[in-house]
Symmetry: C2
Subunit: 145 residues, 2 copies
Amino acid sequence: VSDATWTLHPQLAADTHPVARLGLSDVLLMDNAANPWLILVPRIAGAIELIDLDEADQHRLLGEIALAGRVLRRLHHPDKLNIAALGNVVSQLHVHVIARFTTDVAWPRPVWGATPPRPYGADDRLAHIEAYRLAFSDAAPRTAS
Amino acid sequence: VSDATWTLHPQLAADTHPVARLGLSDVLLMDNAANPWLILVPRIAGAIELIDLDEADQHRLLGEIALAGRVLRRLHHPDKLNIAALGNVVSQLHVHVIARFTTDVAWPRPVWGATPPRPYGADDRLAHIEAYRLAFSDAAPRTAS
């Protein structure tokens, strides 16, 4: 999939750092060290609702969500994954995949708006991104692209 | 799919009213009139994480999520759908499918914990459930069960 007219929403770009390019989605790291938090953005121009993707793209996206979940689990051993497509603030379709811990600051509440974001320090951010890149390149998505 | 050992978590039972039985999931109505809010619970004993379902069940669940989204859209014409699998409080796998409006009380924040639940009045609840039942029986899921 390569949609030449797709561009990342500037608010998502401002809140995140790029991690990887999967078959359908760009993977971004939310700049909030409170939780390991990835965002998948399918490169489909104009997409807003998950359920409006055609079934093949829904299945590809789900495969990439599962991959992101496995990456977070492998690197962080969370107590729970949170997966959500909300889009109330930025309507461009994006899916949150978040590692939650019973010890994290928002637990058991959802993370959105729970506390002000705590940006990564530069070294910490680069280390996380590098580890994610390695894990994504290492793991094959179940749904081939 | 019929998992004889599956039972609905008592907290989910307490917070909701039964609406429909789909091929994989039970559909429940969250008893909060602030938003039209359905919960899908796959009848798979012990399931906690969406990404741990086998791929066929993931696709079936996604088909039922899409169906619930179409039902909410058809009946309520929301401005946005919110879809989420969180499970921080009740770990039994369940997926929220919520109709959001730019005029709803929590907008644009997520609905969880935003305001105390506002239970339906009895007549209103029955009318909603009846309308959902009709809409679910009327619409075929894209993923056959």
